[in-house]
Symmetry: D2
Subunit: 346 residues, 4 copies
């Protein structure tokens, strides 16, 4: 049994880590931290996690935690995570960071978008971006995983085959995303209160959302050119799920068959990406609670545009599920372990 | 008091016509039709319309209805409407058609997208597309209004100032729309049943939705070029509202100030279009139950793209409210009559 | 035009007062207060109230406000309201208090349930409980209205005819209520955040909710006996609406016809109570946005129990609509003025 | 591996059987039937069940199915199930019937409430009511399980300890239940369409719901007296979950401690019933996707009434989960097998 510690376990991604890891046969959660819930048992904070009643939240004292785990999951706020990651990593622990602190390889870009400097640039260089569909080999050898953001996961998986195969004009990509409200975290804030969100729908952070440089970094690496994208997130009145609709002009005329073949080819061995039959489109409801990314394809021949629609559960493939997938890969555990639950429908 | 008849009054748009017209001081509803609800009083079909308990649904017998009104609202299925519109129009009645049958000026385009021929081409030529923000003068003199589709209303109002002022590259426009479920009509269908829609979100009719040619027709007229657009509708788990996110590459660099001035200038006298302060974005919840179209603007300077977000209530500005607005204009009634209710929030 | 001031205008009931009074032909809102939103215009706080953009929130300075209105609506927190009510009332103003501070006639009961003493007992004696269906005559002559709580409104209207006619055993009444989330007010609190409420349902304040003594006070007055009830509120994942299911054992066997006759008789002239046909039950959706209380009846002959189901919009008949109804009565305005809007469905 | 057949696998309970049994290590699904979906693979009907893509729906041909399983789950409509159950049972198969056809021990009561005679009375006598918390020993030896209704499960588990211990007056029990919309089944019906249910809430079948005699049968057996109850179901705008609020007058004064002790004592060894700390109440959201029944207790000392609130997932403990629990018991498999998933929250 591999001992793991969850730092920051009282938010929604922390709750999902607890839920998923509770069902993992090869690991044991030895500690879970929360500053504001310190002293409470897990079910006092998350009544649905009655099975974790033996776990009591404790404040994050890095030195005390050090010897209690081989793997540290960090679900801390951006900024806060920098130092904790560096500490555990420097002590030869395996670290999976769910914050954005180690995702942007260029510390200047990080500072520009997050408004604070990166204080651990040499550790940053050791981080591997935890999208197994691109970086599985590097993840196997890594000790520090920067777990991808929820929006980037859906966007990059939608475009990866098209970019790798130079199907589309990379300079005119539109990424229109719609996220369930759990993406905003578990917090007391009027903007996410029930009556403000329910029966509503809006765009936010138009052109300024912090996941933009993360998407651009990975897409640029895939196509070998420095590109910028139009990325707009919207807030959906549902608990979970991100649907991303991507528009990319085709470079030249290609048949539907070609496109399908390319997508199928790249994803057929992926345990958590499912390319739907051409003409079928994903629904966030069908991936709810799972680590699956569903991909739907449409070649709009009237405009010669490739339209890709992807759906993920933002808390699973978009956060904690992918974090466990990364741990499985890193620790040599079968990749699907604890991640093979079916979606709950309806 | 102007006598009006509502043909097709048991669907959601019919219900909204009844609701709005019940509060209209200048009109009297003399008949309402429904084949399947014939013989029932309105509140038996719509318990919330208790005030309409004096009205009993009757089958649509055109000859019998003819003398009972000056204005005929038709909220019939596409295809079915063709003949009824032609009949009332040919008898010198004022007709407002909420179906798509008289929206597309080219009967070949109609046949291509709706799969049936248009049998009344000379009447079709007399129809005015009922978007007052473009055609108010013609609506005043018209006797046949083709009331716009819900998606086209939000899309066209979002792009009108940009196209009129040649701000954007008209050949690369992306229109990503999200509609509440009432847009699917009032019907017994598994695809709109509660448990299938709730907590879900999906794209549908990607690249093939019938509102596409309607949007293209009006945008082409606005910019003077025959254009095609990428239009994708999505199904939102809410009752009402359409949010449309539009991406259009700027032709050349323009300042935010210029863009705001252009939008404000065109819409400042419009009673039902509200351009939000730059940086603010609409929420369907804020227009629920109203005839307002809210418009939010963003110049993404990183990609030199204009992003416009519009919100309407699909059943009001997107259907029955706009129909009443058209009637007001056509009949010389103050345009806002019966349409000045505030949104219900939350 | 009667000048009115709204004290506490940034919560949901305040927003509803603004919405309803904006459409009232006989009144003018001269000021609206809010401590935390002071200096902001109304649409900055409630974007849907664009029509109120001339109104700017100001702090509640009683002396300054005094000369600006004849009628003062107070939508302040319980406890805070005591003093403000007393001030305006003592200055000969008309006061409609939406808090609970002047509802309980016995100051000891008030102190027991609200945990603070009542400091203005002589003013308290002058307050009239603002349920027009019971106290219309007294409201006409009153200058201080204690506007009923949302749960008591639905519960009392459901039982009034049964108690007045001694149909039921008053000592075994069960009142099971389900309220939309707007009943919890507009506030940043984890317990009302979207992801906590959505797809959930729970009871709260079981046997201890503060509306209990208010219900008991009025029911006791109706039946002439001091009674206690079992009252349980539940939190519904909807914005608006309270459905109350009431169980009361019949004293003796009575026919369905008798019961219907009694309810119809008492409510037939009431503008805002609608007794449904026997066997039909209300749905909160059908009264959304209206000042209507719908009442459904069932005589369970197997158990000889009268079951009454009532539905109101908690923010309208349960708060701000009823407050305006009370103002209309008090000021000699036609009772339905500004309150005759139809429900928004769907 | 035990071969099982699911008869009626295209509804929500059928889908849940497929989901749960797919994760069961000791069983193999050898066939699944559906008349209207015959010929389709499971994922064509339930896209979330991609793992079941090897299964194709077939029409229900009893003779053909007979040799393909040891256990037959029947999720067929009431009435239809009678004959199929009898057939498989008479052929010495193990049968778990999710319909109501074998729940009521008295065929006259069945005929009275379901409107059709029971044609297999001798088989009916062999059926065991599948509530393990009462009948575990008999289930172990049974070959025919009448799986309880969803409402009865929540109601009976709430009252069982109180009745067994003669805490309450059994002649005045009120059971007020609120069910998610999946309880209405997967069907194309206007009454369960999204816009009719969303933002709504209503009572239905007041005093006439068919689960009433089932509840009364089991409660009568528990207390040894023939009792009748007031049972009212309501329709909740959520996918899953039933919350039941039960009011039962105490026979005599008892302390909170006594009551808690009694409930804890009876349920402490039950794997799927969780008595919450006194003063805590269940939320359907916390049991979503699980086989757990949560129980909250309140002694209302003002009225000397015991109030019990229970929450279950209507599709799991209220249907398919309990069916699998019964199969586990019947087949000698560890009772929690395939049923230990944690709730999905939020």
């Amino acid at each position: 049994m591999i001992p793991v510690v969850i730092c920051g376990g009282s938010g929604y991604t922390g709750g999902e880590l607890l839920r998923i890891l509770s069902g993992h046969p090869n690991i044991e959660i030895t500690a879970v931290t929360s500053e504001k819930s310190a002293g409470k048992s897990v079910p006092e904070v998350f009544p649905h996690l009655h099975e974790c009643r033996h776990l009591v939240y404790e404040p994050l004292k890095k030195e005390d935690l050090l010897d209690r785990a081989e793997v540290f999951f960090l679900a801390l706020p951006h900024g806060t995570s920098q130092d904790a990651v560096n500490f555990f990593f420097s002590k030869n622990k395996n670290v999976i960071d769910l914050s954005a602190d180690y995702r942007l390889t260029d510390p200047k870009v990080y500072e520009e978008w997050y408004g604070i400097p990166h204080n651990f640039v040499s550790t940053l260089r050791r981080a591997v971006y935890g999208l197994p569909e691109i970086y599985r080999k590097r993840i196997k050898r890594a000790r520090l995983i920067a777990n991808p953001g929820c929006f980037p996961t859906g966007a990059i998986l939608g475009l990866l085959p098209a970019l790798k195969n130079e199907l589309v004009d990379v300079f005119s990509v539109v990424i229109d995303s719609k996220s369930g409200t759990s993406g905003a975290g578990r917090r007391a804030d009027l903007s996410v209160s029930y009556c403000e969100v329910n029966e509503g729908f809006k765009a936010y952070g138009v052109g300024t959302h912090r996941h933009t440089p993360e998407i651009e970094q990975e897409l640029s690496l895939l196509c070998g050119k420095k590109i910028r994208v139009n990325f707009t997130p919207h807030l959906l009145p549902v608990d979970r799920g991100i649907l991303t609709t991507i528009y990319a002009p085709m470079k030249k005329r290609r048949s539907v068959g070609d496109i399908v073949k390319i997508y199928d080819g790249i994803y057929k061995k992926e345990p958590f990406v499912r390319v739907l039959e051409y003409g079928m489109y994903p629904n966030i409801k069908n991936v709810c609670g799972t680590n699956i990314c569903e991909v739907g394809l449409k070649l709009n021949e009237r405009t010669n545009t490739l339209i890709v629609v992807t759906a993920i559960d933002n808390l699973v493939k978009g956060a904690s599920g992918q974090a466990v997938q990364n741990m499985n890969i890193m620790m040599g555990i079968e990749e699907k372990t604890a991640l093979d639950t079916l979606a709950l429908f309806p």
